[in-house]
Structures are given as structure tokens and as C-alpha cells.
């Protein structure tokens, strides 16, 4: 009892006794989660407005005599004439390692029923991206565990790589695979006590998605043990547009904390098409002038300021990084629509997923011709770079020849060989979902296909052969795998060892 009394006394002592000035306004109009408020002469842009009863708003339109604010949360209790006040605070969210393993909403409030989040650090949702001086170029890889990506479209820490494609082409799966692979790498390094390994923490921002989809993603991450390294920011389709608009910015703030504290983080915006739609709704209700496809004029700035926050910081600035994987959903493969072109031009490359490929069974359905990574090759693991450089060329040649061979004319032996090799490469790049491959295994497999070790395996047996080879390499040749990871580049001695290992495997392999 004495404790309670002390606590009350402390609160009484803490309560302000002086007369402080407050800036108030009166709600004149409220509809669709947007209030128009008369007064609030001191309101700042993006300031939190207190409507009482724990309902907050965000001042987005500052006009001559009115303020337009979006309500974050339940606006049913707010009526015409309700008094509200400025708080002097910008919208902030909790940040820090306490959020790892948690599912939060766009204001950082827990949604997973695991109790309050124990952190006293807050970051503003809107923050200016790091400037030129603080940055350095991308030089460390993000291992996605997807062979097609790691070999041909490498992603570096601090890069912004767009994942674009039609509905159900495997966009989210690529991101989930990346999260799972990095969780696996983080755990392996933790268990081995590797102090030099820089763990990569993941933030998955779900915007305007079905609750069931979000639950499924959480389920997959939990099943694969990736949740302890992941934060999920969820603004589902049933959340109001303001929360959907804010979610990616909140996620970015959480990622920036890792970056500012010298750590590496990966953020996935799933997806920015729905984010643009939510922002369009907010803007139209705020009566902002609309432009192309009814999007407001600043929809480009909306995404550019968000994606600019992904960066690789210099040694002086802490050496942290924030990698962004935004997702865009196209309609019938139309990449020339408004939002896709905007985001393509902002990012440092894109992974383009094709419906046709997906239904042909090429999964992940990455279109190698249209996908590109503008900065990632500088960060690619050297061993992979030595091998993968030729693979992309081989594959391009294969596609050209395959189109030509459709005419059914007789082909010379060299062309036949190239076609057969191409088919096998395409087959190797097929990969089951949630089954990321370590980069050292990928390297050996690609080396083997380039050096004709798969040429005598039938195309329909390639996957089986690859799976067995991976098993063989991981269970029987762990020293070789460790050596590739350690030495990073392939030298003659290492290549000789790989050759011995692959030859040994081929002797035992019977399809």
C-alpha cells in the first residue's frame, strides 16, 4: 500500500503546476478518418494532434484557417465540435532490439499479445535520409539463398532492389526466403561465435494485405526459426488508409535504428502499389489536387524519400546499412504504369517476375533479361562472381538460340550443346520456396554445370542430381565448404579440390 501512495505522490509532484499555454482547435468536419480542424494556429506539419481518449491524429494539411488531420485509430468517438490540441511532438515509433520477434502496427504498438515492448528509444517516423558525406558505396552482400538472385542479380547491403511482377508470381516468397536465409546465417554465426560476421536483421512491412496472408507469413517465419531476427509491421487491408500510408515509414524508422547503431538491417515493403493507393485515398479526402491516375502530385516524392532512407553508412558514420526490397504488383505485366515506372527509376535495380515463366514451372519466375542489379555486383562474393559472370551470358545465348531453334531447322553440334547446357542451367535455377541454399553450395553447383559435370544428366533428373550434390557437399565435404567461405575467391588449388569433390560425387550418383 505504501508503494502505491509513493507512486501517487510522485505523479502529483510530476504533474505541472504552472500554467502552460496550449494550442487548441475545434473539429469542424470529420469524414473517412480525416478531420478538418479550425484553430490549431501553432500546428506543425506531421505533428501529432491529441483528440483525447488516446486518439491521435497527424496534421498533414496546414491551411490559412484550418488544419487537415488524419486520425490514427478509431475516429468514431470524434464529433463536430470536439476540442483537440497540439502536442509539440512529431509522430514517433519505438525502435530497438526489443522489437525483434514482435508483430507491431504502424505506430509500433504490439499486435501479437506478447505484452508491452520494453524500449525507451523512439525515432520519428519521417526522417531525412542520410546525406552524401555519411554514405559509402555498397560493398557487402545480402545472401538471399536463391541461386538465380545470388548468381545473376546480386544484392548488396544498403541497396534498394525492386521486386516487381504480377499477382501470385512469387514476389513475397523471394523476400521471405531472404529473411529465412539470413536468419539461418545469423544463427550459424552466433553458434560458431564468429565475431566478424555482421548479422542482418529483417523488417517485414505488410501494407494493405489480407490478415490471413500476414498470418501465413508469420507462420512460415516462425516455422523456420526466423522470427527472433525479424520485426513485422502490419497495416492490413482492414486498417484505415492513414495507418497503411504510415506503415512503411514506421518500418524505415525501426530499420534506421539498426543502421545508426552500426548494424545491418533489411526492410521489405510489401507492397508499395497498395501503399500508393492508400496515400491516394488520404490525399483525395484531404482535397489535395490529383494528378495522373488520380494520384497526388507528390506520389513520386512519397516513394523516393522512403527509399532514400536505405543506405550504407561510412565507417565514420558507424558502418551500418539498411537494405530495402520494395515490392510492386503490376497489372498484366504492365511495367510502364505510373507507380511501377516511378519505383523502377528510384531503385538500384529490379527483379522482374513473369507469369508465363511461373506457369512453365520456372520458379522463382525471374526474367533474367529484364532483371538487373545496378550496384550489387560490387558486393557479390568473389567466388560466385568468378563463376556467375559467364552464366548470365550463357543463359542469354541459350534464350536466343532456343527462339531460333523453334523453327525446327537442323542444328550443328555446337548449337545443340549450347541448347542442352542452357536447359540444364534453367533447371538448376529452379528452387523450391522456403529452401534457401548456402552460397558456397551454389558456387560449387554452378562451377559443376559450367565444367560439363551435368551434361550427361538428363534434364528431368537435374533437380534430383542437384539436391543430392548439395546434400553430399554439406554432409561429406564440410571442410571444403568452409574453405570456400573463408577464402572467398576461387584459386587453382581450391578449384582442384572442388573438381575432386564433384568427380567423387558423380561416381556415386546413379539417377
Amino acid at each position: 500500500m505504501a508503494n502505491i501512495l509513493q507512486e501517487i505522490e510522485k505523479q502529483i509532484a510530476g504533474a505541472k503546476t504552472g500554467v502552460a499555454r496550449q494550442n487548441v482547435g475545434v473539429v469542424r468536419e470529420i469524414s473517412d478518418g480525416v478531420a478538418r480542424i479550425e484553430g490549431l494556429s501553432d500546428a506543425m506539419l506531421n505533428e501529432m494532434i491529441d483528440f483525447g481518449n488516446n486518439v491521435m491524429g497527424l496534421a498533414l494539411n496546414l491551411e490559412e484557417t484550418e488544419v487537415g488531420a488524419v486520425i490514427l485509430g478509431d475516429y468514431i468517438g470524434i464529433k463536430e465540435g470536439t476540442e483537440c490540441r497540439t502536442t509539440g511532438r512529431l509522430l514517433s515509433v519505438p525502435v530497438g532490439k526489443a522489437l525483434l520477434g514482435r508483430v507491431v502496427d504502424s505506430l509500433g504498438r504490439p499486435l501479437d499479445g506478447k505484452g508491452p515492448i520494453q524500449t525507451d528509444t523512439f525515432y520519428p517516423v519521417e526522417k531525412i535520409a542520410p546525406g552524401i558525406i555519411k554514405r559509402r558505396s555498397v560493398s557487402q552482400p545480402v545472401q538471399t539463398g536463391i541461386m538465380a538472385v545470388d548468381a545473376m542479380i546480386p544484392i548488396g547491403r544498403g541497396q534498394r532492389e525492386l521486386i516487381i511482377g504480377d499477382r501470385s508470381t512469387g514476389k513475397t516468397t523471394i523476400c521471405i526466403d531472404t529473411i529465412i536465409n539470413n536468419a539461418r546465417l545469423n544463427r550459424a554465426a552466433e553458434q560458431a561465435g564468429d565475431k566478424n560476421y555482421r548479422p542482418l536483421y529483417s523488417i517485414y512491412v505488410a501494407v494493405g494485405q489480407k490478415q490471413s496472408n500476414i498470418a501465413r507469413v508469420i507462420g512460415v517465419l516462425e516455422e523456420n526459426g526466423a522470427m527472433p531476427y525479424t520485426i513485422i509491421v502490419a497495416a492490413a487491408a482492414s486498417d484505415n488508409a492513414a495507418n497503411q500510408y504510415l506503415a512503411p515509414f514506421s518500418g524505415a524508422a525501426m530499420g534506421e535504428w539498426f543502421m545508426d547503431n552500426g548494424m545491418d538491417a533489411l526492410i521489405i515493403y510489401d507492397d508499395l502499389s497498395k501503399h500508393a493507393v492508400a496515400y491516394r485515398q488520404v490525399s483525395l479526402i484531404l482535397k489535395r489536387p490529383s494528378g495522373r491516375e488520380a494520384y497526388p502530385g507528390d506520389v513520386f516524392y512519397l516513394h523516393s524519400r522512403l527509399l532514400e532512407r536505405a543506405a550504407r553508412l561510412s565507417e565514420q558514420a558507424g558502418n551500418g546499412s539498411l537494405t530495402a526490397l520494395p515490392i510492386i504488383e503490376t497489372q498484366l505485366g504492365d511495367v510502364s504504369a505510373y507507380i511501377p515506372t516511378n519505383v523502377i527509376s528510384i531503385t538500384d535495380g529490379q527483379i522482374y517476375l513473369e507469369t508465363d515463366l511461373f506457369y512453365q514451372g520456372v520458379r522463382p519466375a525471374i526474367s533474367v533479361g529484364l532483371s538487373v542489379s545496378r550496384v550489387g555486383s560490387a558486393a557479390q562474393v568473389k567466388a560466385m562472381k568468378q563463376i556467375a559472370g559467364r552464366i548470365k551470358g550463357d543463359l542469354a545465348q541459350f534464350r536466343e538460340l532456343a527462339a531460333f531453334a523453334q523453327f525446327g531447322s537442323d542444328l550443328d553440334a555446337k548449337t545443340q550443346a549450347q541448347l542442352e547446357r542452357g536447359k540444364r542451367i534453367v533447371e538448376l535455377f529452379k528452387q523450391n520456396q522456403y529452401n534457401p541454399q548456402p552460397v558456397e553450395v551454389q558456387t560449387v553447383v554452378l562451377w559443376a554445370v559450367q565444367n560439363a559435370f551435368f551434361d550427361d544428366v538428363a534434364v528431368d533428373k537435374i533437380k534430383d542430381c542437384q539436391a543430392r550434390m548439395s546434400d553430399y557437399l554439406m554432409s561429406r565435404k564440410p571442410e571444403l565448404m568452409a574453405k570456400i567461405v573463408k577464402e572467398k575467391a576461387l584459386n587453382d588449388a581450391l578449384i582442384a579440390e572442388i573438381k575432386v569433390a564433384v568427380t567423387e560425387f558423380k561416381q556415386t550418383y546413379r539417377s
Partner: protein
Amino acid sequence: MTTPREARRIARALFRESFTDGRLDEAKVRQAIQQLAAAKPRMLVAILKSCERLVRLEVERNTARVESAAELDAGLRERLTAQLQKIYRRPVAAEFRVNPELLGGVRVRIGSDVWDGSVSGRLSELSAAL
């Protein structure tokens, strides 16, 4: 219903013309309204409503609504008005009202600023803190 943009523009122009030395001139406002009513332009009601709103906000900006739990004596009223004029650096008219719901103290509202020194205000602040 929202006010048409044109009506708001005209109302704002009339309002801006009604100032003398940075203060809203009542005579000018009256004259402008009379002329407007005589001319009967399109959207007269919308213009007048818009004008009324601008004038109301300007009057509120220069008027301090002082609420107190008990009647304030003349000396206190004078001191309070002088203090407010010192803070806002402009002439401020004060309207005094007794509001027993405040329980004690004074609450002043001027434009969109509120100075709440009332007991009820402090109690609600305390309950929010607890």
C-alpha cells in the same frame, strides 16, 4: 456543403481590404457588407458566410475569453488584460465570465491558445497522468 472557391476568394479580398493599421476596422467591414448586399453578386450567401467566418476568427484572435470560478475584481481584470497584451504584443479585448465548473482558478482562451490555470483543468491533467 463546402464553400465555392470563388466565394472564398472574394470574401478573403474583402476581408483584407477591411484593415486599418493592421487592425480590423469595423466601419470598413460594415461598409463592405452593405455594398456587397446592395450589389447582390452570385453566391452572395456563400461570400457572406465565408466573410463572417474570417471576421469571427479575427475577433477571436484579438479577444481573450476569461473564465473564472468566482467573480474577478476590477484590479485583477486590469492586471490580467495588461499581462495578456504584453504577451501577445497587440491590443487584446477581454471578456469575463464566471464558470463554477472550473472549481477554482482561471482559464483564458485567446484565438486558438488556451492558458488553463483552473482546478478542473489540473485535476483532469492529473487523472490523465495517473
